[in-house]
Symmetry: C2
Subunit: 193 residues, 2 copies
C-alpha cells in the first residue's frame, strides 16, 4: 500500500471545487513531488518564478533584500500553504523574492505552462486559483492595516496568538524580520510580555 503523495493537495482543491477521479488523476500527473533540505532555495531573487509550490511537509520563508541591504520576510509557508512569487509568475519578470526552506520539506510543484494546460483540462481550478488570489489579496490588505495601525508589540502578541506554533518552528530573528523590526527590539518586546 503506497502512500498518496498528492492526497493533501487534492483535499486542498476539494475545499473549494469538486473533482472526479479522472480529474484527480490529471492533477496528480501535473504536480511533481520532491523533497528538499533545510536552508535551500525554492526560488532565488533575480530568477523568474516559473513554478507554484504546494507544501506537503515543512516550512519556508519568502523574503527580499531591501535597499538598505536588510532581509525582509514577507511570509512563511507551512503544510498546505501555496508559495511562489505571484508577481513574477504573472508578469514573467525576474522575482525580487527568495524562497528558502526553514526545515527539510516535502513539496509539490507545477510549472506555470502546465498550470495553464491544467486550467484547460480541469476548468474548476481556474476558479480555485482565482479564489486563492482573492484571499491572498485580502490578507495582504489586512496585514497592511495591522502594520499601520498597531505597534510592533501589539503585532507580535497577535501573531503568536494566531500562530503559536510559529515560535517552535521559526527562529526569533525571522519573526522580527516578518514584523519589520530589529531582532533586538523583538527581544525587548518579549521580555515585557
Amino acid at each position: 500500500m503506497t502512500k498518496d503523495k498528492h492526497q493533501a493537495l487534492i483535499e486542498n482543491f476539494e475545499k473549494e471545487v469538486s473533482l472526479n477521479e479522472v480529474e484527480k488523476e490529471i492533477i496528480r500527473d501535473y504536480f511533481h513531488f520532491f523533497t528538499i533540505q533545510k536552508k535551500k532555495d525554492l526560488l532565488r531573487s533575480g530568477d523568474i518564478c516559473n513554478y507554484t509550490f504546494f507544501i506537503l511537509k515543512g516550512c519556508t520563508r519568502s523574503f527580499n533584500i531591501d535597499e538598505k541591504g536588510i532581509e525582509r520576510i514577507q511570509n512563511f509557508g507551512f503544510e498546505n500553504y501555496w508559495v511562489g512569487d505571484l508577481l513574477s509568475l504573472f508578469t514573467g519578470e525576474p522575482s525580487s523574492l527568495t524562497i528558502e526552506t526553514i526545515e527539510h520539506s516535502q513539496i509539490l510543484k507545477i510549472h506555470k505552462d502546465d498550470l495553464e494546460n491544467l486550467y484547460n483540462e480541469v476548468p474548476q481550478l481556474e476558479r480555485f486559483f482565482r479564489i486563492l488570489y482573492q484571499k491572498a489579496y485580502v490578507s495582504s490588505l489586512k496585514r497592511l492595516n495591522k502594520m499601520v495601525q498597531f505597534s510592533a508589540s501589539e503585532n507580535y502578541n497577535q501573531l503568536i496568538k494566531e500562530q503559536p506554533n510559529l515560535l517552535q518552528r521559526v527562529p526569533l530573528a525571522y519573526i522580527a524580520s516578518y514584523l519589520g523590526i530589529a531582532p533586538e527590539s523583538l527581544s525587548r518586546i518579549r521580555r515585557n510580555s
Copy 2:
C-alpha cells in the same frame, strides 16, 4: 451632439480586452451614471458593498476607523480609477470601509448582480477584472513593502514624486492618514524637505 458619458469606461476596458459595438452598447446599459457632491459617501462602513464604481471625474478616499478611533485612509480614487470594497463585494459581508468623495464627482456604477450578468454577456470582462484584481493585489504588496522598509519621510517624498497632483487635490491631513502618520509629523517632514 451628446457627450458619451461611458467613453472613458470603454477606453479603460479596451486597454486590456477588445470589444465590438454590440458589446459596448451592453456595457453602456449596465453602468449607471450619476453625479455626487463633495464630502458625500459612496459606501458607508457597516453597509454591504453592492456596487463597483468607476470614477469619471472627481476624487474619493476610502478609509476605515481603527480600534483607537482614528481614520485610516487606505487609498484615493481619481479619474479612471475603480473603487469599492472588494472584500465586502466578494464575501457579501458588511464593509469596514467608508468611501467618501473629496470633490464633486461624476461616477459610473454597476451592481454586483449586474456585473455577474455582464460577465456572461461579455466574457472578456471576466478577464479584465481578474487582471484588475491581480494588479490590485500586487500594488497592495508593494505598498506593504514600502511601509515596512521606508521611513515616513521617504514614503512622503516618493508619494509626491509619483503623484504630484495629490497635493493640489487632497488635504494634507488625508495624506498623513494615508501614510499612517500624525498630521503634525507630516507638517514637520514637509518643513525639512
